[in-house]
Subunit: 335 residues, 2 copies
Amino acid sequence: MPDPRPPTIKDVAERAGVSKSLVSLVMRGSAKVSEQRRAAVVAAAAELGYRPNAVARSLVRQRSHVVGLMLSDIHNPYFAEVASGVESAAALGGYRALFNSGSRRPTAEREAMETLLELRVDGLVLAGPVLATRDIAAAARSVPLVLVARASRSAGFDSVTNDDRRGGAIAVEHLVALGHERIAHISAGAAAGARSRRTGYERAMARAGLSSRIRVVSGSFTEEGGYEGMRRLLAGGERPTAVFVANDLAAIGALQAADDAGVSVPADVSVVGYDNTALAALGRIDLTTIDQPGAELGAMAVELLFERIEGRRDDRHIVVTPSLVVRSTTGPPPS
Amino acid sequence: MPDPRPPTIKDVAERAGVSKSLVSLVMRGSAKVSEQRRAAVVAAAAELGYRPNAVARSLVRQRSHVVGLMLSDIHNPYFAEVASGVESAAALGGYRALFNSGSRRPTAEREAMETLLELRVDGLVLAGPVLATRDIAAAARSVPLVLVARASRSAGFDSVTNDDRRGGAIAVEHLVALGHERIAHISAGAAAGARSRRTGYERAMARAGLSSRIRVVSGSFTEEGGYEGMRRLLAGGERPTAVFVANDLAAIGALQAADDAGVSVPADVSVVGYDNTALAALGRIDLTTIDQPGAELGAMAVELLFERIEGRRDDRHIVVTPSLVVRSTTGPPPS
DNA sequence: GACGGGTATTGGAACGTTCCAACAGGAAGG
DNA sequence: CCTTCCTGTTGGAACGTTCCAATACCCGTC
């Protein structure tokens, strides 16, 4: 018993004894159709279990009413927040959101993005992509595109970010105010935002007269990256009294490494994360971090997308100012 | 300067001086096309920046090569694990995965599911839906469908779950073995799997001769639910010495409530979660929990989907056995 | 009873692909 | 030199909608 094809508008039309055009009118809620016919169509559709085919519709309308969202890393709770912001803002505008994920690998990200493009989404949001700017710019040539959580001076698309450089500086300033001097940084290499956070760290260190204390080890935006970075910091040379970690996920890995090494936080070493994810707020973690409101950034991204869909051509780059959230992983340096 | 329409197969054909059929052949990598023409087509496509239109393709092929995944709650890291399992298994089979989320609300879930159905995905995976079984069965009538992390005896679709009842029992048995008697449960009401975990708890209590000690407070699969539940348990009546919480997220909320109330874990009260998410493994949390391998369940779901797409008609219900992961939130009861 | 004017309804083209049957054109065989 | 066969190529139908221009219908007016 091969599954019969799903009913089409034509089947509904036949059963209701009207033309397919009329059915189309009814399905789209047109006002100019007689009550009697409407009822007949609605009944026929219900009996057949008719569901409009969005594929056919977007083909003819040249509009899918879908915004695509490529998440760089689905395991990072920060992106989950971005996603929910995107989803609700899209719904508000009568659009639906569809996600994807590229496991923090450029090739996987490009494929994920390509999938969305081939589906002809009306707009594309890229959250924290590690993709080459060149590829992003190319994609932006064929669809309205907004970057979230990654800055760009590039033309052809919009972006919504927080001021990562400022955020990095805020972290350092907080630690300096507490009396720290040996402040190290676990960076996330070339990942989105990582470079600026590092620059913010370095400049703030210089401003505080601590240029000679600058110490950066490379990690990544993952727990493992943070763990490894902290392990190296604790192992070799002069131990830092404070560490600014590239994001919350990595900071949690760093906390773990400190715990494992019997180094207590914040008594022996202070730790600052970035993103203020739900993770950081957990009582047991209670991580001092830099707040960057994910859901809001996601929602703003969709707003920008809508404007572009409406025809705006100039580039808009929104930069929100991050803020410090002090919790219990930072304190004065050991005396 | 209105954005020109993206180039179509016809544009490529014209530029390469061949028919659109030939272009189609080349794009799909057919062997039977001369090297000379192929080169011309490839060049023309590159020059125009041609990207095949997946919408048109799925319309005519009646196949989208996309599997849809509806996540009940995008903030629950457990579902992120399911999602990555789904995504990689889909990729292995030459399919792409697209996500959605219903915010643990039946209406939002139904809408999310409907979106996917209208897009005519080839298969649908629902992860932990709170949707009515009736709605799921209805959807299963029009597309191969697999339920993950929610059991069902219903016909017409497959499911992949762990044995929640057994899991609940394992948690109780562990606590009983440690010497606990006043073991309470924070349930998640009618959410997917919650009922069975509760039944498992109740039956295991009875088997241990602790029927009179059974105490259930209602919560949800969220931090807030767990926090609230624990608060109530600590406030009223005889305080339990151990609590089995419906999932990790809620267990973390419960830990928080214990911390806030100055109740120490596990000295005063032991806590067991469910899911063994990455959260539970964090050193600072180190939650004893019941393991249910999310990524694997997701991958299995896709396997089942593939079989159904290939034509299998009978229902398959895979139930994996959960296992105990002992960490530091459980210990003997206070003496 | 013819006419005008609005409103409800309809057929057919279009959207960008794939698929299939049909067709060139050259090589091989008689 | 004519068939036959194969290989590469092509036009056109189909997929399920929307949209537009055209038509049918009804009502009131003269």
